[in-house]
């Protein structure tokens, strides 16, 4: 057998042929690879470059500093303070988040509720995002955590900024507060800041109303990140826009006195500049410390706030609605004079009672002293707060003309103050009753309204607006925000009230005599300092109807009843009597007692306010307020229509 034969040749040929074929196949594969390279790198290269850049660069949000809130003189009412906080990066918590929280809990106090919230926050964020575990720590707590840091993997100590309210609960109903972002908040707001861990947003008051302005806009740092999201290096930074600063019309000094005077009563007081509507003080008690919400309210704190019958969460000035009681009588008087019924010669004789239809209505004097006021003109009726006079007069004027006059004074409609949740109160008319109850207006309804009871309700803010309008003769509306971010809050020009000067003069005269003439219902609480005299009107608002039987038994004496059933005590006033500057309303819920503490506190606040005279002091706000300069006609009009102060005891 030969070593090599034809079979060898045959297979060599086959091998060569097939090798060439495979070579061709390999060439084709290489062509495919090259083609694919062309496709990815040249044809689609630009698109992939963008994607690679998206991978590489990540934007980290920077929370801008929240804008401060100042009073009219630049006193900081809301600012930022150092916030010692502890953060947890879940991916670095080598023993798991639950374990880490337990360990931290041994160093500082962490409730189960807090732990659940932290777990939730961690679940909502990427593993490398630091999530706040505890904030607003004391220096002691903070140093304790720092000391234990080596045993707390994933824990970071951080010095941040947090909202602070230096005056605590004093301004809570104006400023509101900030608190953590809720899931519902995120739904309605696509600001990227909303998802920032530890972010706070305004939940009430100015903080809520102007939240987007105060919040500022998110800054961003462009950072290079790796595939796990860890920052490799910074590429650039945009600090964002700091929140805008807000100047209020409030004078903190007056505010402090008002708040102090109200004390722990369930009460409200508001002071307003009658010429331009600036709210000088706005206090509603009891309040609560807004810092609680920032730090995180405990369950028991929240429980206490919500169940208290003093309603600390409610801003009673804007959202508390009360029957105005006798403080409504000046409005009725105005309507009667405007209607031409209460002419200077018009008098009504009060015998203590009046019978309309088959109902007998008592004057308060009858209930208290069992006699009437005798013959009264409109000013005397205001001075004595004679119910019978107003029953009779209102009956003649009719509800719709009262409605008309009251609406001119701003009742029955929101004032438009820059605070959320304002209530509009109710100023009824016959048309309103027909629409609402499908019933005709009854004369009895008119009589109730005549003394500020029945359907009519108002907020203290509406009452102070009414008082300011009566005092100035201008259609002023309350405003509490002067400027935002250096820009004036635009508002319509103050126009003259559409009421005759004569009517205003006579109503003012009546209110003057309430305080400054012997026998006036508030004579004992007048301001005696010359030049600072106050005019006003007291009021008592029944929270429920008394039966004839109760009247007979004298059970209407407030001290004999449960607190919840006692009458509200109201007072409206303005000062000085000549050329008025300020109007005030004070209300103590269920506080109608002979001592009239609500008038006394109004007197003290008004005296202090006039002596201090914040409207004349140079304000600190950064823009000049052209609207606050009185229009030329004010001076003359005020002089012609202002009554002379009546000598005390005259």
């Amino acid at each position: 057998m030969p070593l090599f034969d034809k079979k060898d040749k045959s297979r060599y040929d086959t091998f060569t042929r097939r090798s060439v074929g495979m070579g061709a196949g390999m060439t084709a594969v290489f062509a495919l690879l090259a083609g694919r390279l062309y496709q990815l790198q040249i044809r689609d290269g630009d698109q992939y470059m963008v994607e690679a850049e998206d991978n590489r660069v990540s934007e980290r949000l920077i929370a801008p500093p929240r804008g401060r809130i100042m009073d009219r003189f630049g006193v900081e009412l809301a600012n930022s303070r150092r916030n010692y906080r502890v953060l947890l990066v879940s991916e670095q918590a080598t023993e798991g988040v639950a374990r880490a929280l337990d360990t931290i809990g041994k160093v500082i106090v962490l409730s189960d509720q807090q732990k659940r919230k932290i777990q939730h926050d961690i679940a909502m964020n990427k593993k490398f995002v630091p999530v706040p575990v505890a904030e607003n720590l004391t220096w002691d707590e903070f140093s304790r955590v720092n000391l234990h840091l080596p045993y707390l993997p994933g824990v970071q100590c951080d010095l941040g900024e947090t909202r602070d309210y230096p005056f605590g609960k004093e301004l809570v109903h104006i400023l509101g507060y900030v608190a953590s972002v809720s899931p519902q908040d995120i739904e309605h707001d696509d600001d990227p800041l909303m998802s920032l861990p530890g972010m706070r947003i305004g939940k009430r008051g100015i903080e809520k109303k102007f939240d987007k302005k105060i919040r500022g806009s998110a800054g961003a740092s462009r950072v290079e990140v790796n595939a796990y999201g860890r920052i490799i290096r910074a590429l650039g930074k945009d600090a964002g826009e700091p929140g805008e600063e807000i100047y209020l019309t409030i004078d903190r000094e007056v505010q402090a006195l008002a708040d102090q005077k109200l004390g722990d009563e369930s009460a409200a007081m508001v002071v307003m500049d009658v010429n331009n509507g600036d709210i000088i003080a706005l206090s509603s008690t009891p309040g609560f410390d807004p810092n609680w919400f920032n730090v995180g309210l405990t369950n028991s704190q929240w429980h206490d706030l919500t169940i208290s019958d003093h309603k600390p969460l409610l801003n009673k000035v804007t959202s508390g609605i009360y029957p105005p009681g006798s403080t409504f009588k000046p409005a009725v008087a105005l309507a009667a004079i405007e209607a031409g019924i209460a002419t200077p010669d018009y008098r009504v004789t009060c015998n203590g009672r009046i019978t309309v239809g088959n109902h007998t209505f008592n004057c308060w004097a009858w209930t208290t002293y069992h006699h009437g006021h005798g013959s009264l003109d409109v000013e005397g009726a205001i001075k004595n707060s004679c119910d019978v006079f107003f029953y009779e007069t209102a009956r003649r004027v009719g509800i719709d003309r009262i409605h008309q006059a009251a609406r001119k004074l701003g009742l029955g409609a929101p004032t438009g103050i820059e605070l959320p949740g304002e209530h509009s109160g109710l100023m009824p008319s016959s048309e309103w009753k027909q629409k609402t109850y499908k019933q005709a207006w009854q004369q009895g309804d008119t009589l109730s309204v005549a003394i500020g009871q029945g359907y009519v309700t108002a907020t203290p803010l509406q009452l102070v607006q009414q008082t300011a309008r009566l005092a100035s003769g201008k259609a002023v509306s309350p405003r509490i925000v002067h400027s935002v971010g250096g820009k004036l809050i635009p508002r319509p020009d103050v126009t003259k009230l559409d009421v005759s000067d004569e009517a205003l003069t006579r109503v003012r005269s009546g209110m003057n005599r309430v305080m400054n003439e012997g026998g006036g219902t508030a004579f004992n609480w007048r301001i005696t300092e010359p030049g600072f005299e106050m005019a006003g009107k007291t009021g008592t608002a029944q929270v429920r109807a008394y039966s004839q039987e109760e009247h007979a038994r004298g059970i209407t004496k407030n001290s004999a009843m449960d607190w919840k059933l006692r009458d509200h005590a109201l007072f409206i006033g303005y000062a000085p009597v000549i050329d008025p500057k300020y109007a005030i309303v004070s209300i103590i819920e269920h506080g109608a007692v002979q001592a009239h503490p609500h008038v006394a506190m109004a007197r003290d606040v008004m005296l202090m306010c006039q002596q201090r005279d914040p409207s004349r002091m140079p304000a600190a706000w950064p823009v000049t307020n052209s609207a606050s300069a009185a229009p030329p006609w004010v001076q003359g009009a005020a002089q012609t229509i202002s009554p002379q102060p009546v000598k005390a005891g005259g």
Binding site: D8, F15, R18, M26, L33, R36, Q41, I42, E51, A52
Partner: protein, 384 residues
Amino acid sequence: MSLRPYAADKRTLSFADKLLEVNWGLVLLICMIGLAGIAMLYSVANAHFQPWALRQIGHFTLGLIVMLAASVIDIRVWMSLAYPAYGFALLLLVAVDVVGHVGLGAQRWISLGPLDLQPSELMKIGLVLALSRFLHGKSVEEVSKPVPLAIGLAMIGIPAIFVVLQPNLGTTLIILADGCSLLFLAGLSWWWIAPTLGAVAAAVPLAWRFVLHDYQKARVETFIHPEHDALGKGWNITQAKIAIGSGGVAGKGFTQGTQSRLNFLPEKQTDFIWTSVCEEFGFVGALALLVLFAVVIFYGVQTAMSARSQFGRLLAMGIILNFFFYIMINGLMVMGLIPVVGIPMPLLSYGGSAMLTVMFGFGLLMSVHIHRQVEIPRHSGGII
């Protein structure tokens, strides 16, 4: 060309003769590719020699020595060692199932001192050697006869089964491709080939149903719809394509590849090293490297066809096809044309086993080249 006994003087090449005969051009090509790989390993480690580049220099240097050593050994010696090498590789392959430790979810390694040995890599060389040896003794007609064909298929199938059980789908595919290519080159009849191809086509759905592991199926599914799971299993493919595409024409520059530097690329130092080449050197650089690969393969095919012994021809072609299949599967995989299977890019990817077997393979290829004039009778079994 007359069939005559090989010349006696060709039987005894001196060592110096052999060194002169070494194709230094090919050595240069391999060094260029190897250095490119080391440079990329330096780059993907954020411009550090640790942990990969320095060790890869060691692997490559050792590989060069192994290659040159293998090249000067007489081809008939290799022929004699073919079956023992195959047996040894098979033994290791069985052993790996017993003592191998887990790497990337599959048992593939045996630790031999500092080197993690991958028997499946050795098996590729062992199979090419043994199959070339076996087919060397078979004429075209004999190759297609049932008994020799059965033996040949068993030589392919037995290691393939052990490798697929590891499980290592990529290497199994390469073993099957290597073996079947050799049968084809040895002259297997089309009467066998055509029906087999048909049967394979029919078997694919069955394999999907009963043979493939879940993670292998997941790879295929991910490949077909990478966008369904762009952050999960589709991540690898998506990020690899971004890396390649973002290189553009000229690339981002050496060590400037953001995708690899920032760890967006998975297994960037091993299976996905090619994407870094594309990212940093762009279309120009990647194409240049492809050309280098193509030239090496062209040289290998030429060597095969110039050898005078059937063993040498089959061995050379087997070696170069093995090299080609690596490139093809890795290239198609990282560029998103086939599902992800664990196959490194030869000479570029980090890893001692793969480097040594590839270099050893080139050594055998050079041995074929140096001893291309050696004629070996069909019934000879080597010289040992």
